[in-house]
Subunit: 436 residues, 2 copies
């Protein structure tokens, strides 16, 4: 993308309404613009981040054996009356009436709908287990939306739902998602700690929240820092081995980690002082086992092995995809701007042409740009070098490729690694070999 002709409106000033770093930086880096209270348009650079996060979430859900589908944003009130949640849900549910005076709502979650689909499509215990997921926009009519996409009204969520014939099966599904989540967050460059949690309006009696430490987090959390040393991407836990998954669950339970609601001072005291981490945390995902809370009232039964009927056991598993954009920035930025992890950066590199219109610089910059085939942003604006450096730092590209007139004449460029500030003076070929 050529920055001179891209809808990436970086701002020098900090917008007055933004109270936290991620909100400020998302507006300043031209990732999003608010179009109504708590509702955002994702501009091209922001959209690329959201797509990268979605892709990683999707790959890990697929790896765990979940099937992707897509449920609609609007739902009928009738479905929610079946589970009893239509009246129980407060004013955060956006209620809508269509031209025929039928009650609809903008889905805040999909337990009812997936149970309805499953009961019409799954007849036998032989078809279970199944895990289904979708990545879809949801709406929660927050009374006071704030913190940008961290607490918006229209938000993108991955929600998965599992169906099993019994409790043991449901636990296996729960643990599969646990492993998928640990892998997903790690690939996103985050350390998300699973913590026992209350189940809230979803219901059920087993739940973990996945929490990223950040000073602007909404809840106080406590955990054993030894947990951070695990590498789940490289771990040998296998999805198809229930004993592996049980071992993973035991491992997680073996390390102290709790939100303030579940905090237990006596157990906390037993964690060696040097390993105690306490601070604010941002919830980026939550998983629930809730058994027959929906399948029972919604009368979802499947034929069992001996002519019996079985009411499937269910769980649900959410990841806040749009919220993650804010959480990643909260966890990874400095005074100058965003520091994107490589896996989610909108562009792998920015090519800064410091002398637009000078033949050698233009040629070198265009040559580089062509090699990246869409993965680089070319700063071809008629701007001072200082403005280009500042915008590149603000936007947080993992690499900057600086094309200045002197080095260009020698066929060389300067590489800057955003995260560390390291700089390398390299020939064009060496620079490309390093980055591509």
């Amino acid at each position: 993308m050529r920055l001179s002709h891209a809808l990436i409106p970086t701002l020098k000033q900090t917008p007055a309404e933004a109270q936290i770093a991620s909100h400020r930086l998302m507006l300043r880096a031209g990732l999003v613009r608010q179009t109504a209270a708590g509702i955002y348009a994702w501009l091209p650079a922001g959209w690329r981040v959201l797509q990268n996060i979605s892709r990683i979430v999707r790959e890990e859900q697929d790896r765990a054996g979940a099937q992707e589908m897509l449920m609609p944003t609007l739902q009928t009130a009738d479905l929610w009356r079946e589970s009893g949640r239509y009246d129980a849900y407060g004013p955060e549910m956006l209620r809508i009436r269509d031209r025929h005076e039928r009650d609809l709502l903008y889905g805040p979650t999909n337990e009812e709908m997936i149970t309805d689909l499953a009961r019409s499509a799954i007849q036998s215990y032989r078809e279970l287990p199944q895990i289904l997921y979708h990545i879809q926009w949801k709406f929660r009519d927050e009374v006071r939306p704030r913190f940008g996409v961290m607490r918006g009204r229209e938000f993108l969520m991955k929600d998965a739902y599992s169906f099993d014939v019994d409790y043991e099966g449901a636990l296996v599904s729960y643990r599969r998602m646990m492993l998928a989540y640990l892998r997903t967050f790690q690939r996103l460059g985050l350390r998300a700690i699973p913590m026992l949690a209350d189940t809230g309006p979803i219901g059920g009696d087993l739940s973990h929240e996945f929490i990223v430490l950040a000073p602007t987090g909404e809840s106080q959390v406590f955990y054993d820092s030894d947990f951070e040393t695990f590498d789940f991407e490289k771990s040998e836990f296998r999805y198809d081995d229930p004993s592996d998954l049980e071992r993973l669950h035991a491992l997680i339970n073996g390390y102290y980690a709790a939100t303030s609601e579940k905090h237990d001072e006596a157990r906390w005291e037993q964690v060696p002082a040097a390993r105690r981490r306490e601070g604010r945390g941002i919830e980026v995902g939550q998983i629930f086992y809730f058994g027959r809370k929906y399948s029972d009232p919604m009368k979802f039964g499947v034929a069992g092995p001996n002519g019996t009927m079985i009411t499937p056991e269910m769980g649900s598993y959410g990841i806040g995809v749009s919220r993650l954009v804010g959480a990643i920035i909260e966890a990874s930025h400095d005074e100058a701007g965003i520091i994107w992890p490589d896996s989610v950066a909108p562009f792998r590199a920015a090519i800064l042409n410091l002398r637009v219109g000078e033949a050698t610089c233009d040629h070198l910059a265009e040559t580089l740009y062509a090699k990246f085939a869409g993965a680089a942003l070319l700063d071809d604006r008629d701007e001072r070098a200082g403005a280009k450096f500042a915008d590149a730092d603000l936007m947080g590209h993992p690499w900057q490729i600086i094309v200045g007139p002197k080095s260009a004449a020698a066929g060389r460029v300067e590489l800057k690694r955003r995260g560390t500030g390291e700089r390398f003076d390299l020939s064009l070929d060496d620079a490309l070999a390093r980055l591509l």
Copy 2:
């Protein structure tokens, strides 16, 4: 995906509510389920088709130089009051009131929002031209939703918007999209004919509809069949050469093609009788040039070259992504079911294990399945061979790989090409070489 544990509920019976082939086949092949009038859940196989279509649309938009972004589904009424369309739009607009009694609406299109974003982000004529697009769910509160996803209420659309400094530039953008559309539909396996069209509620004075011939189409169309012979994927029209684009536009205008509203009997008579095609057509896309219809009332101005202000010229460009699933099926099916073009098929092949539980068949089927790495559907259900053949034909996979006990013992499989019915008896390796 293993069909025994997949949410792909094929139906033997034709659902009573389905009046046209695509609606019937989408329900019977387990692609979608209706969750409310005109609102559908996309089950795993249907979702894969929708993703494949979206990917092709996206690749061709990107190739044409358009930038992807994402605007939200809900919009404020205030924006639509600025353009005057809030009151002009009829009961098809879904109007919503939030908890603070603010008027929102579920976007049926995005001219107002993109103009608002552009006016806040683009300051100078130097930043133009730009084309922006998104693929997002829209809502149109049809009084009588029908024909499945062809005329649903919640539907997926790609809409692009162009901004140029003058009429000549706007024409270039219009023609870029024209070329992108011709390439897109061809890659989808469709022959979509561009026809001069009325502009309707979008407004403006230049518009083409892209129409696919099918007996269930909503409008009567007339065109010169010679137009069908062009290969736009392989054509040499270049996006960066305005004279190429002008030549393309002239070529299109040189062939007679019109919907009944624009039909001109005198010109029609001049088309050689053998080349006259007349029939029902399904609209799968429409492009509009409308100048300053939105930029004027919404006061979007950019600084011109000499301190002057310029009001940008705009166009908009839609493709009905979810509707295309239906249109492709209308254009490509037979008595037995869907015949997917290779480019959009949910699975490249179905592997039919005719003797589940028999060691040689299981081994061969699993070996094949592993090689396809997610691109094949394994029919591992405990079902009769006849039911598997019927379901595979119904689902329309481009290839069927039939693993029967006799041939499996000899390390061979039978390949069936869905479109032609051709069959090939091949060794495992030859079958893989053919398909992968």
